[in-house]
Subunit: 336 residues, 2 copies
DNA sequence: TTGTAAGCGTTATCAC
DNA sequence: GTGATAACGCTTACAA
């Protein structure tokens, strides 16, 4: 009675197919089995609606084919793109994605990692900020954008090079008074190198530049004040601005336009990330594009072919420049 | 030797704490245990770095505390928001999220559901298009935006009412020649009712309107042609446009602006979804806002408190209207 | 190939 | 509360 309702097991399939249990197991593991047996097993399985129980398998094999991904949020185009790319890449590799978001909360991160340990994931790809627990987890961990320890590989894009590239582009485009704007928590991370690369390039070319960093807890207010203080008779003291993210650029640009500053005529701007309009359209601004797919592939490769011996802790992937209307290049009109 | 490397089990904790195996189990299940015993167990567990093996537990209990979420992609602000909200809500309920994306591919959907069956998830929240497999899966399934069968609950926002609301707003705002634009595959789904509600409201108010639907396989080209054919001397035949999504609105608006049509002066526009600038800023256009959090809560509630008896197959959640600059209301200037 | 059996880590159920 | 033991469904090893 109850048996008829229960989900069928290998045993049931073996009985139904009239073969040994081991044979059924072999069939579902791709082990060599006589074709006639294989056929009978497959038919029986179909008839019974059988499917392997990964929990039993995982318990036995100590392998779950599941990778955890930890991100601060999906409410950010870059993270959403990253999650999407990682998900696709994992699927391609026959792996499942267990996704957690932390909302930038350090306690949530710890709770999350502990939960994942319970869940016996095969590895973690995480964009996290807390030091704790990660080492302790004792499982393959690939960090994004943040070096946690020498033994934990970190995948990031070439933030330093990207900053330099932005400076070079702005200079090529004729800018002479450069400004770098950054918001972000005080958190340390690879992305902070963007300003460094920018500054280095400016110095090298012997050009005037200003670096200005804001704590994003206070929103746009301090930034607006700063810009206003550099706005005289509708003219800005700068003719080229590099923003640490496309999102920041967008906000700054909107403010400047309100003040009748024309972009890119009066001031040219370059952002960072490579955000596209609705993810698939054109870039929302001229930008340094992060290689999202490549980052995803790299993360998945590292975490799934875990190999402590290759301990290159930091992997910087190449970025590219893409015009997007906030610089004075000829940009294809988007009549599309 | 090897034992020292192996992850500790309950047995190890029991030995370390000097208590019975069952006691350890009770501690980790919140069952009543003498406080002295509890303390010893917790200390021993900490010392050993023990954590429950959910795979063993899942096998035994036939319950995995994992809910699968299937979405077409995360490369869409609305889906990303939805995924984010669902993830938060699941976490709040002590559940884990196994996320899969299908890229709108029906075969991927099937493969996905089959995989999830293997994985013994406790339930699925899915925005899928294929009929097959879902019923067969034989597990709690909550569908988003699409009625699959009477026995499968579908959570959606009030698309019909939203369409009507859009019409009402445009009329209130003085529009008299209305157009509804829609793109989308030929797929049937609840979102198709947006046009219906719009049309009904227009008819009821006895106002001229046109419904125009495009297959999104062909991109913007046919839409552009259509609009051009209704553009005479820089004046559009319509003074109010309702678009089936904010994304479509954005594309159309960009095209119209290129043609020097002013928005909202010459034509007012309302979209659907409630997309915000970078997810957290202001709305990108005047829009019918879907209640993403409420949808997430509803989905999680339905799937985790599975109860076949309440078979209200279709749950339409209330939408709201939000001005966003493409209609002639006074909108707060976004100096922020 | 077959049948059998041990074991993965938990939970649940005994009698004590 | 203890201790022992039988499941859960699968993999693996073994002898036949």
């Amino acid at each position: 009675m109850r048996k008829s309702v229960k989900t069928p097991t290998m045993k049931d399939v073996a009985r139904e197919a009239g073969v040994a249990l081991g044979t059924v197991s072999n069939v579902f593991n791709g082990a060599p089995v006589g074709s006639e047996y294989r056929r009978r097993v497959e038919e029986a399985a179909l008839r019974l609606g059988y499917s392997v129980n990964s929990y039993a398998r995982g318990l036995r094999a100590d392998r779950t084919n599941t990778i955890a991904v930890i991100l601060p949020t999906l409410q950010n185009s870059f993270f959403a793109s990253l999650a999407n790319a990682i998900c696709l890449e994992l699927t391609r590799n026959g792996l499942r994605m267990l996704l957690s978001t932390t909302e930038y909360d350090l306690e949530a991160e710890s709770a999350c990692i502990q939960m994942l340990r319970q869940n016996r994931v095969d590895g973690i790809i995480g964009l996290t900020y807390s030091e704790t627990k990660v080492d302790m987890a004792g499982m393959p961990y690939v960090s994004i954008d943040r070096v946690i320890s020498p033994s934990i590989p970190c995948v990031t894009s070439d933030n330093y090079g990207g900053g330099a590239l932005a400076a070079r582009k702005l200079l090529e485009l004729g800018c002479r008074k450069l400004l770098y704007l950054r918001t972000g928590s005080t958190v340390i991370g690879e992305t902070n190198k963007r300003g460094g690369g920018f500054a280095a390039e400016c110095s090298m070319q012997d050009v005037d530049f200003t670096l200005k960093s804001f704590n994003d807890e206070y929103g746009m207010e301090p930034i607006v004040q700063y810009l206003d203080s550099h706005l005289h008779d509708g003219r800005l003291d700068f003719d080229g601005i590099f923003c640490s993210t496309d999102m920041l650029l967008d906000q700054v640009a909107r403010f400047l336009r309100q003040r009748s500053v024309r972009i890119p005529d009066d001031v040219q701007m370059i952002g960072f990330d490579g955000i596209r309009r609705f993810f698939k359209g054109d870039y929302i601004c001229s930008t340094i594009v992060q290689p999202v797919e490549l980052m995803a592939e790299t993360c998945v490769d590292l975490v799934s072919n875990w190999n402590q011996s290759r301990l290159s802790a930091l992997i910087s992937l190449p970025v590219t420049y893409a015009p997007g209307g906030t610089t004075r290049e000829q940009v294809l009109p988007d009549g599309q």
